[in-house]
């Protein structure tokens, strides 16, 4: 169940030239599952901005984001001590029991964000996930060590081969796996699905109005009827996805 609260920025740090990490402290009790998201209200912007939760620990949560537009640039420039109005506990989150004992966690760019906390929770459940993290170049790589520090096999791919495996994340999927969890650009998610016939949990991103199911701004068609990405998503099972959306 969602909550609204004022959170304090406790850490703001660049991870690469484009990607930043922000840690916010406050009432995190509504953030229940990896794959859920939060909506941040930023000065001068009318609509809130959604971000996947990268981690939740103690009384704080972490988000990773690329400064790509007005909102994310504002957020990048927030300093520790800043207060932000946040809606927490949004969306369904990943199903920890849907993808077997040896799932792949497949992320592209900032899409790796929700997979980090997911990895921690899967490990806690006794599973043995492998992380496949896709980037464009070596300079774009972030959170590789953080995933490795969880004690899981972590494979980095770069499109130009400047670090790790040369190619796309899908080029690293050729290994035994019980299923997969994936988040990133939609073309990547589609390609991931075409490379595996195992169970899959896919996290989607859509332009949203409210983020909590009231405005019907992000409804997609699925084999299980209409679903609001913000409420019945953002995670959909691969079996219910209709790609024409």
């Amino acid at each position: 169940m969602m909550k609204q609260g004022i959170f304090t920025v406790t850490e703001s740090s660049p991870l690469t030239e484009k990607v930043s990490r922000l840690v916010l402290r406050g009432d995190v009790s509504a953030i229940e599952r990896p794959g859920q998201f939060v909506q941040l209200r930023l000065d001068g912007l009318y609509l809130r901005r959604p971000f996947s939760v990268c981690d939740r620990a103690g009384d704080s949560f972490t988000i990773l984001f690329e400064a790509a537009g007005k909102g994310t640039r504002l957020l990048r420039d927030e300093k520790p001590g800043a207060e932000i109005d946040v809606l927490t506990g949004l969306g369904n989150g990943f199903d920890l029991f849907a993808c077997g004992d040896t799932p792949l966690l497949i992320g592209g760019g900032t899409g790796i964000s929700p997979l980090y906390w997911l990895a921690k929770e899967l490990i806690r459940e006794g599973r043995r996930p492998t992380a496949l993290l896709g980037f464009n170049t070596a300079a774009d790589v972030f959170y590789e060590e953080d995933f490795r520090a969880l004690g899981i096999e972590t494979v980095v791919t770069t499109a130009n081969g400047s670090r790790g495996v040369k190619g796309y994340v899908t080029d690293a999927m050729d290994r035994p796996h019980s299923g997969f969890y994936t988040c990133g650009p939609e073309d990547m998610i589609k390609a991931v699905c075409s490379r595996s016939d195992r169970p899959g949990q896919l996290s989607f991103d859509r332009r949203m109005g409210c983020g909590f199911g009231a405005c019907m701004g992000c409804t997609v068609k699925t084999t299980n009827g209409l679903k609001r990405i913000c409420k019945e998503g953002p995670v959909l099972d691969r079996k219910e996805v209709l790609w024409e959306n």
Binding site: M1, M2, Q4, R41, L45, Y46, L47, R48, L87, R206, R207, M208, G209, C210, F212, G213, A214, C215, M216, G217, C218, T219, V220, K221, L226, K231, N245
Partner: protein
Amino acid sequence: MGKLSVSLCGIELDNPVIPASGTFGYGYEFAELYDINCLGTFSFKGTTLQPRAGNRLPRIAEGNAGMLNAVGLQNPGVDAVIREELPKLARVFHKPVIANVSGFSVSEYAEVCRRLDGVPQVGWLEVNISCPNVHGGGMSFGTDPGAAAEVTAAVRRVTAKPVIVKLSPNVTDIAAIAKACEDAGADAVSLINTVMAMRIDLKTRRPVLANRTGGLSGPAVFPLALRMVWQVHEAVRIPIIGLGGVQSAEDVIEMMLAGATAVQVGAANLVKPFACRDIIQALPETMERYGIEKLSEITGGAHGWEKM
């Protein structure tokens, strides 16, 4: 009768604050957050005869002080609303509710209203002749006084419940449309629906919204809405529900001074989910600050000062 109460077509509201249709779903999402019985009432998601999946995505864009939507009347259809949504709503909301109705023909409006007329939970029918986001329906009835009157009269014939006609701001003379609705038997008018608008993505050089255009709402439209409420108040005797960019107790009072009997709150619910509760809580103190003893007495209070 409390200081905040108003009467809307013969039904008493504890206060004039009403979440607007399409920004409050069927109430449950908000009932998780606060007891929605603090509301005057609310207007549920626009309902059509058949289920509608709505428009393609993206349906949402942003402006400097507001948002654009082109949802396209997504709803499960009137029978599913009556069978599934309203019984669920009855568990969390114990007051008469406003049923918002849309259609693509005069007979569809009338049929949806006829079916909702039999539902005791429904206190009022709000006939939306102003949706800018569907083709061949909605707004096409709200931009012509004759068509507006025709829909109003057809609905009037099938229901004993108060009929509120929701008007479009995308017209030259909204007062003339309001008058036509009044003459055709409307018990009240609500205004304004969203203002037709658009955004273009500089990178793709294409409209942001898949529907190309959408309806602008939020504080950007408040002064426009207020002016139209003012004009309609000068033209009709039936009650007016004022809406468009309302986000504070001060805005509620301003709308009422312009001529509104009750006030709807739309986009604010989407960015500040506690908006309506907070506005209601702020009303007594705000009234005191402006020397208002009873809210219902200020409706239209800004009119007629030239004659004094």
